[in-house]
């Protein structure tokens, strides 16, 4: 007798919920030891609604089709020398930031979801995490492939995985994910699936992919489209996770609220890098960081938190500080990278006159008063042949690991600083948000690997910054870093422009 074909509903049941079984010779407590120590109470895993409604066999089919299209476009881009059609070579520095700062995070996300998928008692949640883990691994691979073409023609893209573990500013994204991955499984999901993927991911992906489109980078745009359908599923998972946890037990509500407060703040700080990319690194700009924050957080996030009110959840703590900070953080970040450009894998520059005017128009209350005078001075120094590089090392926040460069919410020309004494040692923070995170779990953050302190303890292979950058980071001085103006990359780009036929030039 021929075997009956399963209908879709049965197939879905067999390939998701039926993957679970009742243990007979081990207790569930022993099989899933991480389910309880965070204080989260799960009364019934069967209440979990699978948000993906997708089985693994269908998943392979969809993803394989997406991959085929994606790699066809990568090939076409490479064969047509797509990199020569960019708006300007300065744009590639945003890709260097993306490849070294974001791509390793996709890998960390893969590792995190693979791990928590093992540790949930509910089969639905396990399958959801498994699929997301595979998605994240695919994103790592496609990002590397999307940007590998640029590695043949531009500098600084040569060793991103090595740099992720070592270069000072990359400890910011690295520590964000390590904090999440060393938490319990429910905090990991709240941190990554909800706070990052659901609340903040649009701020990362939409500007990056629109920025790529505006600047002629079709390889990255195509990767973005390919990843976006996965991201939509991840966001659905993020919301499902939070609602499930909140509905399981009222005792979960204050725990989740504290995680939302923490991970909103950590995510907001991490996105400082994206703000800088939008306002400074895109030759053709999409929208300002302040505008993006208004659309993607203040409006979309506002509606989300209104929706969560019925569970007893309020908007994240210190959200009002982000409304003030949106006027400042991109300029503050660019000021850090400009003066420490000798220790990065990308170039920086002072904005052109046209760009300064764009910034003045986008930030009418702050830019001309605070940031324009600084940049005009730096431009004068550069014109005199004294381009400003800061010869000292900066003080870092113990939690977010960003230099203490943010200003007080109520005093925008005073550096923001908090400190506490813990077990006889002094610790410093950039903000109330980071200070609160430390004070709840100080023993976690006293172990932070702060790059500046590690260099000064002699743990980064050299006595001076030049040796650390060359030998420990694998960044070539004067080639991968320093100012864009006059760099080998700038010269190469000008050479290409000069080689183009005249009509091609004017069309661009």
């Amino acid at each position: 007798m021929a075997a009956k074909r399963l209908n879709q509903k049965d197939k879905y049941r067999c390939l998701t919920r039926d993957l679970a079984w009742e243990p007979s010779y081990q207790t569930k407590e022993d099989i899933y030891p991480y389910e309880r120590f965070e204080g989260i109470k799960i009364t019934d895993w069967d209440k979990w609604e699978d948000p993906f409604r997708l089985t693994m066999d269908a998943y392979w089919k969809y993803q394989a089709e997406k991959e085929k299209k994606l790699y066809a476009i990568f090939d076409a881009f490479a064969q047509n020398n797509g990199h020569t059609n960019l708006s300007d070579a300065r744009y590639v520095n945003a890709l260097k930031l993306f490849l070294s700062g974001v791509t390793p995070l996709e890998y960390q996300a893969y590792q995190g979801f693979a791990r928590v998928g093992r540790h949930f008692g509910g089969a639905g949640a396990r399958v959801a995490c498994q699929m997301q883990a595979i998605d994240e691994l695919r994103h790592v691979q496609t990002q590397i492939h999307a940007m590998s073409h640029y590695n043949k023609h531009f500098n600084g893209l040569h060793d991103f995985a090595h740099m992720h573990d070592r270069v000072w500013f990359l400890s910011v994204p690295k520590s964000f994910f390590e904090d999440a991955r060393t938490a319990g499984p429910f905090e990991f999901l709240t941190a990554i699936s909800f706070s990052f993927e659901y609340v903040l991911t649009n701020l990362l992906f939409v500007p990056f992919m629109s920025g790529a489109a505006y600047n002629g980078d079709m390889a990255t745009v195509t990767f973005g489209f390919s990843a976006q359908s996965d991201e939509a599923r991840h966001m659905t998972l993020g919301l499902e996770v939070i609602k499930f946890l909140l509905e399981q037990h009222e005792d979960n509500v204050p725990i989740i609220q504290r995680w939302i407060d923490k991970w909103f703040w950590r995510g907001y700080r991490l996105l400082t890098l994206v703000g800088m990319m939008m306002d400074y690194m895109l030759p053709n700009k999409v929208m300002s960081w302040a505008e993006a924050w208004e659309v993607y957080y203040e409006q979309a996030g506002g509606a989300l938190f209104k929706d969560l009110e019925r569970y007893g959840i309020r908007p994240p703590k210190y959200v009002e500080q982000t409304t003030i900070g949106k006027e400042h953080i991109s300029h503050q970040a660019w000021s850090i990278f400009y003066q420490y450009s000798q220790a990065t894998n990308f170039h920086t520059w002072m904005p052109t006159d046209e760009e300064l005017d764009w910034l003045s128009a986008k930030y009418p209350d702050t830019f001309d008063r605070i940031y324009r005078p600084r940049y005009e001075h730096w431009r004068e120094m550069q014109a005199r042949g004294e381009r400003f590089y800061n010869p000292t090392l900066p003080m870092l926040c113990q939690v977010c690991q960003i230099p203490l460069s943010f200003t007080e919410p109520d005093a925008d020309t005073t550096l923001s600083h908090r400190s506490v004494l813990h077990a006889g040692e002094r610790f410093h923070f950039c903000s109330d948000g980071c200070c609160d995170i430390f004070q709840y779990e100080p023993d976690k953050y006293v172990q932070a690997w702060l790059p500046v302190h590690q260099i000064l303890q002699g743990n980064c292979g050299g006595g001076d910054v030049e040796a650390v950058v060359r030998d420990y980071y694998n960044i070539a001085a004067g080639f991968d870093n320093f100012d864009y103006q006059g760099s080998p990359e700038h010269q190469r780009w000008q050479q290409w422009q000069g080689d183009r036929p005249a009509d091609f030039n004017t069309a661009g």
Partner: protein, 119 residues
């Protein structure tokens, strides 16, 4: 709660003073001079006299700023870890009460940065 963990957990601070090979860290910020994006992290001998600290460390660190040549250190106002501070110029840093990872704030009245922009 020192940390949320599945069992007993003993954390070791990574930046204890003994890890700095005989030196201590001092952070220094110059109020109203945001051109320097963040306070400086300075590894120093705890017995370095405050006068040497000014001449050999602070002056080179801030030299790139046009206000640097106009600073009158005799008139400077200091804060140490958020409290008023009067340095003893002949005494060492530690003897002055400047601890490992202390933050010193330098305030130079009358100097308000590039064209008064606090930069």
């Amino acid at each position: 709660m020192p940390v949320t963990a599945i069992g007993a957990y003993q954390a070791q601070s990574l930046d204890r003073q003994e890890n700095f090979n005989g030196l201590q860290l001092v952070y220094l910020t110059w109020d109203r001079h945001l051109m320097f994006c963040a306070p400086f992290t300075l590894p120093l001998p705890p017995d370095m006299p405050f006068a040497d600290f000014i001449d050999n460390v602070v002056k080179p660190a801030i030299a790139a700023h046009p206000d640097a040549v106009r600073v009158d250190f005799a008139q400077a106002i200091w804060r140490l870890d958020d409290a008023d501070f009067q340095p003893d110029w002949q005494a060492g840093l530690a003897a002055n009460g400047i601890g490992h990872k202390s933050l010193l704030r330098l305030d130079t009245p009358g100097l308000d940065g590039l064209n008064g922009s606090f930069n």
